[in-house]
């Protein structure tokens, strides 16, 4: 299996150097070759497992919990902020 590393890196929003692209292309092909052994396993009529706890639709009362933090604390790690808001690039065109 050959991976289109450029495409995957774009999907992952991961800026890679050319050297990295080349390295990952080789390494990931080798890993996927190993993973291809799963094709030996008959999984006809087998349900997939996504969660082992067996729990689903765990609900809680629709109210504010006890462990909340202030707006100031919530944005304390943002690299750029102003007046209690995070500054980021515009999403929409002017």
């Amino acid at each position: 299996m050959k991976i289109d590393v450029k495409k995957v890196a774009k999907l992952a929003s991961l800026p890679l150097s050319e050297a990295e692209e080349e390295k990952y292309s080789k390494q990931l092909s080798k890993i996927l070759e190993y993973i291809d052994q799963l094709n030996e396993v008959n999984t006809e009529n087998v349900e997939p497992t996504y969660n082992v706890s067996g729990l689903s639709n765990v609900l809680r009362p629709d109210e504010v919990g006890g462990r909340t933090i202030s707006q100031e604390d919530a944005i304390s790690n943002a690299p750029k902020k102003k007046d209690g808001f995070i500054i980021t690039k515009g999403v929409f065109e002017e």
Partner: protein, 455 residues
């Protein structure tokens, strides 16, 4: 009195009897950290406390107002404004954080070498890796730099470094303890758990950190039952202990295999019934794991956008990028069914292997399963760094239990060439108590856990 050599239970007892004060206790540990940390690179952050019982916390577990880097450059200045539930619960039990421990970046690695802050050294031999990813948490307990520590286990990250560092490490059942405040790696696999100097200590820490918090909807409401330590030795009599032939294949180092077989003989001497079993899908576990884990990683690490916290995505290390790439690929359009869904189906078969062995109506009816934690003892720095697949295969015996969500313990059970070996004990989903009972019975009958590295 050698304060830093005491178990958690003995430390609490000594404090109660006023043999030393909390200040003496903290000073003893801080002075040892002062002497040894520069050599071992266990701690990324050290706190000068004078009160409480000193615990070391893996630096992927959020600690309020204490820098938490996940071993990554991307979080080099991150200070969590909240704390993990497991940390909150420890603080309520008079425990204080003495430091944050080094790890493979975002818990991705089996040797501790993937940290952006340099590798942690194995206290038994500083030319060897301590295992990973909870490298610093394992080494902290092995070198007596904390009374106990917390780590996280996604595919073996507690059990494997515990084995390589010669300490007790416990991965509880998925859903015993809350993941709230753990930086998510693979959400269907991640669990927090303790490294300790005895199995009884691990039981006590689990009693503290288990249970619902309303913040992790996969946590079951049941806590560990109380059990008096004195009763453990009787509990192993008549228990059915399964030995899976797949855990003794050609990948197992012969020295390690010999030590593990002796440990199994010991369990038999203690009254356990040894049963030969098979877990036929074991050979596919690493392949399943690398698809499911990487897929969940790629999704979880999408949150690092450099806007709310952290620096730019270029700052992820090599292994983190590799796993994000693998996961993004296996979830991408056209490959999703071939890779992600296929792996999730084989995961079901791996779970069923365990269920069959534990089910009394199928003939095996095992209470626990035992085998090696790691196919080898600690290896040299750099030995597995060139080939990611070789590194991945070193977790072949710990990954299946993670995929099934069942509890797993590593207990010291001997040495090969002066390096520690751990016995892995696996149990039924949510029957963590029987795993701890068997571990404690073995520990009470042996002296391996009392051995300390000469540093």
């Amino acid at each position: 009195m050698n304060i830093t050599g005491l178990t958690l239970i003995d430390t609490i007892k000594a404090l109660k009897e006023k043999k030393f004060s909390e200040q003496d206790l903290n000073e003893a540990y801080l002075s040892r950290i002062n002497d040894l940390n520069s050599n071992l690179n266990v701690f990324l952050e050290i706190k000068n406390n004078s009160k409480g019982i000193p615990v070391a916390i893996k630096d992927i577990i959020s600690t309020q107002n204490i820098k938490t880097t996940a071993g990554s450059k991307i979080l080099s200045t991150y200070i969590p404004p909240f704390k993990a539930t497991v940390v909150e619960k420890l603080l309520q039990n008079n425990v204080s954080i003495i430091g944050k421990t080094n790890l493979d970046e975002f818990a991705m690695g089996s040797s501790g070498e993937n940290s952006a802050y340099g590798p942690t050294k194995n206290p038994w031999d500083i030319t060897k890796v301590p295992g990973g990813s909870s490298a610093g948490s394992a080494a902290a307990v092995a070198a007596d730099l904390a009374v106990f520590s917390l780590g996280t286990d996604t595919g073996g990250s507690i059990r494997q470094p515990a084995s390589l560092c010669g300490v007790v490490g416990f991965k509880p059942s998925y859903g015993k303890a809350s993941r709230y405040g753990l930086m998510s790696m693979a959400s269907s696999l991640d669990v927090p758990g303790p490294f300790t100097k005895s199995v009884a200590d691990a039981r006590l820490v689990m009693d503290w950190i288990s249970g619902e918090d309303g913040l992790d909807s996969n946590v079951f409401s049941n806590k560990l039952r109380d059990s008096s330590p004195s009763a453990q030795n009787d509990k192993i009599k008549g228990l059915r202990v399964g030995v899976p032939k797949e855990y003794f294949g050609h990948g197992l180092n012969s020295g390690v295999g010999k030590v593990i077989r002796e440990a199994i003989k010991k369990l038999e001497d203690l009254g356990a019934k040894i049963v030969e079993i098979s877990l036929p899908h074991t050979e596919y576990a690493v392949a399943v794991y690398y698809i499911i884990m990487a897929s969940e990683v790629s999704s979880n690490l999408a949150r690092f956008d450099g806007i709310r916290f952290g620096s730019k995505r270029e700052d992820f290390g090599e292994e983190v990028k590799r796993r994000i790439m693998l996961g993004t690929f296996s979830l991408s359009s056209g490959y999703y069914d071939e890779y992600f869904t296929k792996a999730a189906k084989v995961r079901t078969l791996i779970r069923r292997d365990f269920e069959k062995v534990f089910d009394p109506s199928t003939g095996s009816g095992c209470d626990v399963i035992v085998g090696p934690v790691s196919p080898t003892v600690a290896w040299g720095f750099g030995e597995k760094m060139q080939d990611p697949l070789t590194m991945y295969l070193s977790d072949a015996y710990t990954i299946p239990a993670s995929l099934a969500g069942i509890p797993g313990l590593s207990v010291p059970c001997g040495f090969v060439n002066g390096l520690p070996v751990g016995l892995q004990i696996l149990g039924k989903f949510m029957d963590d108590e029987t795993v701890l009972d068997v571990g404690e019975a073995y520990e009470n009958a042996t002296d391996w856990h009392k051995e300390k590295p000469k540093i």
